[in-house]
Symmetry: C2
Subunit: 230 residues, 2 copies
Amino acid sequence: MTEIKIVKNVLEANESIAAQNQEILDEHGVFAINIMASPGAGKTSLILQTLANLRNKLRIGIIEGDFASRVDTDKVKSYVEVAIQINTKGAPESCSLIAAMIENSLKDLPLDDINLLLIENVGNLLCPAEFTLGEHKRVVISSSPEGDDKPIKYPLIFSDADAVIINKLDLVPYVDFNITKFRQSIEGLNPAVKIFEVSCKTGAGIAGWCSWLLQEIENNAIQRTKLAGK
Amino acid sequence: MTEIKIVKNVLEANESIAAQNQEILDEHGVFAINIMASPGAGKTSLILQTLANLRNKLRIGIIEGDFASRVDTDKVKSYVEVAIQINTKGAPESCSLIAAMIENSLKDLPLDDINLLLIENVGNLLCPAEFTLGEHKRVVISSSPEGDDKPIKYPLIFSDADAVIINKLDLVPYVDFNITKFRQSIEGLNPAVKIFEVSCKTGAGIAGWCSWLLQEIENNAIQRTKLAGK
């Protein structure tokens, strides 16, 4: 049973660092989202579409998490104020970003110069569900070629999400993916979740996602002002 | 540094149980393969195609690994001698099958009645790379919609594979996937790997994969007979 206790302690320590991270972000007026998905579901494509839509309205920073390589950072770096690459290879928790990695990155980010931080997690539907980072919202992308049974097989990550993005709508005609069944599975786990149907390839549905994100940033700013006034 | 030591011990203990598992499999003349991939890359579809091609030639057992649900076992159970579901939810290592889980399952499998054991791992390109199970061959499936950069981002699992299967060939016209670039990335990491291009939807390329598998089973049987004669 020692092993289980160790795992529990690791998760508790992570929660505590995540709470500190969120405090630092709030002090500097930075709204952070944690973007999680299977490998190849479209995390970087969603980020690129989000940048194209919001970079004139917001000052955006990015943390790119990957087991290895800086492929994604190279794709996004010219569209943002700042981009940081984290490679988890060799870390005790190599299958996910963890709060301590974000804590380190926050020291290198010009927090007063940005108001949105997009964190792209490692491609994985399991480990990232267990480690919060200090983000304000948790977003899961699921793409149509992966099949409509993913919420049943990976319930934890979907239960905990604030938003789920169904990506690769353009491939729906060519794959076995029942959108109604998928939505029902998610809503069964997580009735409050917001669901967006998009194609990061064609841009369909991106405007709705970006409106929601802007609204959440505004709600968060109002809430912080209220708390500060108390 | 204590934490790293614990991880190392867990992996060493796993290797030792995996070696015992392979001995048990060899004693009973069962050839085992460990099938790994991202969520939704086509592990169950490859298994269904393999069963359709080989069930008249071999007696096949299956271990289905998933974090939650028995969706995949329900899909395959009528085509095999025996199917066992392992759900990793709640286990200290919930992001992969580990050798101890297979050790337990081997007690429930009628090993003298089967000669091929297909092990479908949890959908994940990270954790399963670290835990061997006692399998004779390690197979990684990567599907075209995931993109051609997966070997660069998840090098460990591709470096260690005996075979890589490029699935969803039927979707290549609709996605950004450069087969030559993908093959070169894998061969750079793992020059000895065998690569198959298939579509589990249309059946294209499945015959080549099944021929290789039959040949590997035969090679293993010959080798075991030779070792036993020494």
